[in-house]
Subunit: 138 residues, 3 copies
């Protein structure tokens, strides 16, 4: 059995957005008990991420780390038509994930206790992000 | 339904190679309308990448970024039997992707408007790279 | 056909642990000839990695690289309740992979000659790590 569903998440600019409940709800609605839920973001300047879900400081520190590793406006970047965060958002996407595969067991994504599913917006401005979910299994 | 096909891409050394058409053609030939196309590179010194497909400056800047992050010939590396680009190519592979999962909708990979599928050769010399595609669905 | 199996790997602290044989054995036991083996680690401070499997210096150099890129005890990190390796282990996880998809051909994971499957423990102390394998195919 295969079910496909697109979900849309509107961001308010750079940062992380918990989408665990959205994904779990789609899995529940699919009726699949055992299988895989594939989440795919149809953009190259935002990521999908599994991350510690309890202490917001973890995601704050991830932003700090990325801002140091891939600084906005770094003069080495030539692709800056959309501003100083344009090329850094592509680099951040390449260093992280555009898609996630999540195992489905007993009708739910079998995440670990501390795992949450996050959309990571890399652009400074807010965007509407499309994520295509493909759930397959029995 | 599951279809498997190996494709081969001959690189001319470090850089990115657009393989979107090759993957879309394999998906079309599979006859699968809804499902997943999994692409897997059978090497540890080249990657598969989803990346902005319109402005080649994006991929140029990615090379510049990686050359700064993981410099060839960095004296911290001890594994250099095949030259100064040997260990950096393994690090680049680990920091990016060896496999991609692409959703299939209406018989095609449902990429975003600006998403292309690229092979990223990390070695200085050209290589023949084997990519195994596994397409499953209905 | 879908088969799911959890495996457990006990680590002795930071470093890489070859789990190729464990995964190949699970694939063999599943009886699946053609398909995908998905491996998912249910933690946010350890990774799954495809890496060169012949020269241990490669994995040694990867540790050296990561220790420089994401130093333990870096004062920029605020999340340090579990010690100086706490936040770095989350960053390392985000920069690498929490899940791998491996193609199954002729009843085995169709890895390249030099590809091994490793668990990468990022914490200083040993942990028991749970990996959920989902194998699907024919």
């Amino acid at each position: 059995m295969i079910k496909q569903q697109e979900i849309s998440i509107t961001t308010r600019g750079r940062g992380t957005y918990d989408m665990s409940d959205r994904v779990q709800e789609a899995v529940r609605a699919s009726g699949i008990q055992t299988g895989i839920c594939h989440a795919f973001i149809r953009h190259t300047s935002a990521s999908l991420m599994l991350c510690e879900n309890a202490d917001p400081a973890v995601r704050h520190d991830l932003e700090t780390f990325m801002a140091r590793l891939v600084p906005d406006g770094d003069p080495m970047f030539t692709h800056d038509a959309e501003g100083p965060d344009d090329m850094p958002s592509h680099v951040r996407s390449v260093l992280t994930q555009s898609d996630l595969n999540l195992p489905i067991s007993a009708g739910r994504c079998a995440l670990g206790t501390w795992q949450g599913i996050f959309l990571w917006e890399h652009r400074s401005a807010g965007h509407e992000r499309k994520i295509l979910l493909t759930m397959s299994g029995e």
